[in-house]
Symmetry: C2
Subunit: 300 residues, 2 copies
Amino acid sequence: MKDVVEIVDVTLRDGIQNEKTFLDLDTKKRMLAAIIDAGATRIEITSFVNPARVPQMADAEALCADLPREGLRHIGLVLNHRGFARALEAGLDEVNYAIVLSDTFSQRNQGMTSAEGVALWHRLAAETRGRVGTNVTLAAAFGCPFEGEVPVARMIEVLEQVMEAAPDELTLADTIGVATPRDIEDRVGAVRARFPDLPIRLHLHNTRNTGLANAWAGYCAGVRSFDASLGGVGGCPFAPRATGNLPTEDLVYMFERSGIATGYDLDRAIAGAKALEVALGHPVPGMLMKAGGFPAPAGI
Amino acid sequence: MKDVVEIVDVTLRDGIQNEKTFLDLDTKKRMLAAIIDAGATRIEITSFVNPARVPQMADAEALCADLPREGLRHIGLVLNHRGFARALEAGLDEVNYAIVLSDTFSQRNQGMTSAEGVALWHRLAAETRGRVGTNVTLAAAFGCPFEGEVPVARMIEVLEQVMEAAPDELTLADTIGVATPRDIEDRVGAVRARFPDLPIRLHLHNTRNTGLANAWAGYCAGVRSFDASLGGVGGCPFAPRATGNLPTEDLVYMFERSGIATGYDLDRAIAGAKALEVALGHPVPGMLMKAGGFPAPAGI
């Protein structure tokens, strides 16, 4: 029986949040259709943040008002109580709440310390009352652009506090793309050792060419859920030199050709990435969209 | 005690063989100095091939006539008997002889079938009489651009014949960059099961974003030697849409930050990649040269 992984699409959230080319509502809906057509069933559709700081997310409510829902789960990223309230109001299936593991980055990203972030999580967890699924993302879980190293002990310390109100799922985010496969083994291993029943998702950035290696190391360490974006677009507006997410189609190629089911269709994912590249008007990092699958379809 | 891997530099061979910008002898010597400065001790310095077909390699003898030698091992790639004789004459430390696992590609690459390639290897092995180190590369070991899938059984069948005259080392080459980590596990595992004492090197191309993932999978499967080029330049002239080797500096980052010694200095490797990019006059694929190491040096 084939092993299975889940690829969570973050194209319309992390993927475009830092893009200079503004994608209007119609374009987002068109891209969403391509994302679903490629095979996505769990989608981080937007973030509920200050539109003055992240203009691409200004239409969050409008986008959520008219979502295809059947067979899909939609996630909204939130950074504070106001965003959380907006996500609930918008009727999404899940909220993804981020806590940054370093105070300097946490202040820049969401105007609070990590400890304040944890305290707010406890309040949000109480307020959800089971109405939505919950994910807590530990951001900068492999390193901080301002403070440098983030020790494993720091990650576990914050996680212990988070788990006083356990979310449905934990995401470890390599926000600035510094992780190596050994880091993945170490940190996923540390989480699993402490909380063996907590589902883990990995949010990786391919800033230093280790993105797919880290995804593979995560798979080998037992992770079965991975964030990705069409064409590998993405990057955090508040982290210097942050670059793209894992390209969905590249991840699909790696897993499917390794005999692991993703539920995606590679050719449709490539078509989606190419459509996004046209919409953005500049080259995107994905490699399968340039190289093509293997073996190549007849006649290529 | 730290684990150790070897990174074999192939910048001046595979790295530039398909480059449109011609690198003259002085530029090659300057790049070689940068490669050595970065930490390379084993270097595939050139190939002894038909200069009409691969003009960048036309100065093979001139380059080899004036090589720094102390603490270094220089390798010449050869595809036929004439190239082999030239490599011996040039006084290199090792010859790397390629056998392509599919007949169509083998004919295009070196004008003979795979079986003829094996027969020639037996002749070359007899002629070396221990004068130089020998490596046999099985090219297109993970797939062929013309014939598609190359079964593991085919690889083992050819390897069995090669091993009638055992080389010092075997290289498995993903010439067109189609391998996934599972392929690496399967094929390295098959070789090790059949010939447990045969040292294995991996020659990988990052055409489909799986390059570093494959290197990591190779490491986990017991491989300790990997080909790479500064900036990740490279590609085979006779394989459609073949792209770059693993970028040396990206590989150094992945291994060193995973606690595995490479003998390279990351900053010097990045400096070499940047110098090569200037010499070639176009962007190269390496990512560390854009993102920088981590943690960043003070003041960045």
